[in-house]
């Protein structure tokens, strides 16, 4: 019986010891080498934090294999990993560490210097040094004996409406459920050559990493620069013979926006999957026109149900203006549409909130009971025994052909450039600036821009963004800013969002 995702590595290392498992722009590593390295890291770590179990260990990540040795080393040590991008603003890193209170932070050499500026008392351990530990298999076996499949594997942070990011805690069982489903549904095998686009602190990469390991494939970590200098991207895909990509919708859109395929075509692609935000058929049709033989899959789901809960294999032509279905639920996942009050099922054919049952449910938000209780609730359709469902906050309805169609969000959460963002998190950060008197954000869906309305004694766009950069990652920056000496208020003396929306966005 499979208790952990580590079995994937153990089995594939047995079958394909000398095959490349991961490669980045500088290094590559075989299954056997990787297995040795992560066991060394695990041993080194376990000796530094003896007898800690199921505790958080943060990893300051780069787009390097080394970061992955950190993840697996932590898993073998019986703890769970929390990836944090080393380029995040220091204050945001501190917020995440405050929530986690990790027993250690693992760093690469270049990411390590960041920790000098971060307030953190615990051990900061260098991955390179940990890799030089000699592995103690007896110790790792001892740890493995006590492991159960519902132990946490990772915590991935997502934007929080109170200004504090939430750490979504996911178990081994949930990842096994997901990766088994992917293999079954999409026919993955050991010929898989995967091109990884998603950063490792983004749960899209979970599918890349674990599908590679389960199927005995190879994963190339594509340098980030190639997604702006896209001519090189296609050369890279061809040079590495990449046949599978599981990318953010925004990455596919860049290719269309820059009309990349008019000059160069990928030659080996067989499977293209996308998620993160609604895929416009205009973009998908561009891909389908140039690469008609590829299987395209629309994936839907939030981090809280372990990446994806529904899929749609694109099986018919769509007009540019049509909406693409999010499809049907994966095996071992049940989807219910609940009404506004989350008390009963929505009427057949009506819009309801997508709520999920299944092993894919995250364990909750780490160290945040309040937020966990809001979203992970007792199934209202079953009052007889404890059964948790996750309420996504996404509204959807069934089309006549039985496919689910995404409608909109219930709240102020948005999807922007593939990132999930709570507008109130941006508002909180802007309102905290001393020279800003009041502020609010509205998302311009048509233009795909975050619009900030702020009140200050004088216009100060540049200063505002500079200060914001100390707290927020760049993808949360407003794309358009409107300065007011006095923001309009409604009857309740609140900022009049409706008026702003009508006069600045819809116009």
């Amino acid at each position: 019986m499979q208790k952990s995702v580590l079995d994937y590595l153990e089995e594939s290392a047995e079958r394909f010891p000398d095959k490349i498992v991961f490669a980045d722009d500088k290094n590559e590593v075989t299954y056997r080498e990787f297995q040795h390295q992560v066991k060394a890291v695990a041993t080194g770590l376990a000796k530094q934090i003896p007898s800690e179990r199921n505790r958080p260990v943060a990893v300051l990540i780069e787009r390097k294999i080394e970061s992955l040795t950190g993840f697996f080393g932590i898993a073998y040590s019986g703890n769970f990993y929390a990836p944090i991008d080393y380029q995040m603003p220091v204050k945001r890193i501190e917020l995440m560490l405050e929530t986690l209170k990790p027993v250690a932070v693992l760093v690469t050499a270049s990411a390590g210097t960041v920790m000098d500026q971060v307030a953190y008392d615990g051990p900061v351990l260098d991955l390179q040094t940990l890799q030089n530990t000699s592995a103690d298999q007896d110790l790792l076996d001892e740890i493995a004996r006590r492991r159960i499949d519902t132990d946490p594997l990772y915590a991935i942070f997502t934007s929080g409406s109170t200004g504090v990011p939430k750490g979504v805690l996911v178990s081994h069982r949930s990842v096994i459920d997901l990766i088994d489903n992917f293999k079954e549904e999409f026919g993955f095998d050991d010929t898989m050559v995967l091109g990884n686009q998603a950063p490792f602190d983004f749960d899209v990469s979970v599918k890349d990493i674990y599908s590679t390991l389960k199927n005995g494939g190879t994963m190339y970590v594509i340098p980030k620069m190639m997604f702006s200098m896209v001519a090189r991207l296609i050369d890279y895909l061809n040079e590495k013979k990449i046949n599978t990509v599981i990318w953010a919708t925004s990455a596919l859109r860049i290719v269309e926006n820059l009309n990349v395929f008019s000059k160069k075509l990928p030659e080996y692609l067989k499977t293209v999957m996308f998620s993160g935000e609604v895929m416009p058929n205009k973009v998908l049709n561009y891909w389908r026109k140039y690469l008609p033989g590829v299987m395209y899959v629309n994936l839907y789901g939030p981090t809280e149900i372990t990446c994806n809960c529904t899929f749609y294999k694109v099986d018919r032509p769509f007009a540019d203006e049509e909406a693409l279905p999010i499809g049907i639920a994966f095996q071992n996942t049940d989807l219910v549409l609940l009404d506004d009050e989350r008390k009963a099922e929505a009427e057949p054919g009506q819009v309801g909130e997508i709520c999920i049952r299944g092993s894919s449910l995250a364990l909750g938000y780490y160290n945040n009971e309040e937020k966990t209780r809001e979203a992970f609730i007792q199934n209202p359709l079953n009052p007889m025994y404890p059964e948790t469902i996750y309420c996504t906050g996404d509204l959807a309805q069934y089309a006549e052909d039985g496919n689910l169609m995404f409608v909109s969000r219930k709240d102020y959460q948005i999807k922007h450039m593939g990132h999930r963002i709570e507008l109130s998190e941006i508002e909180i950060a802007v309102n905290a600036l001393p020279f800003v008197e009041a502020a609010c954000c509205i998302y311009d869906t048509g233009e795909e821009k975050i619009v900030l309305f702020y009140q200050a004694s004088e216009k100060c766009d540049r200063e505002l963004l500079k200060q914001l950069g100390k707290n927020l990652p760049k993808y949360m920056f407003p794309n358009r800013m409107e300065h007011f000496e006095k923001l309009p208020l409604n009857k309740n003396a609140k900022i009049d969002r409706t008026w702003l929306n009508e006069n600045y966005i819809l116009k």
């Binding site: 380029q87 896209v230 990455a251 926006n257 820059l258 950069g469």
Partner: protein, 77 residues
């Protein structure tokens, strides 16, 4: 022309000191979304057609390099 380019860049990313940066691409100061917007702005403002093959770090790492690219394209066009 340089002023016009700087206006576009400052509008795009008010938080960046463009004249000081020497590795806008290599250091990841400009990301893929910036490049997509920038290319369409440059095409319409300077009446050029920057295509995929011109998207090389050497052409976008500095303000000067971008200027050179635009001039080259205008001469060819």
């Amino acid at each position: 022309m340089k002023e016009q380019l700087l206006d576009i860049l400052n509008d795009l990313r008010p938080d960046v000191e463009f004249e000081k940066e020497k590795k806008l691409i290599d250091d990841g100061v400009l990301d893929s979304f910036d490049i997509v917007s920038l290319v369409s702005e440059l095409n319409s403002e300077f009446d050029v057609e920057i295509n995929v093959m011109d998207l090389e770090p050497d052409n976008f790492n500095t303000v000067e390099a971008m200027l050179e690219l635009i001039v080259k394209m205008q001469e060819e066009g």
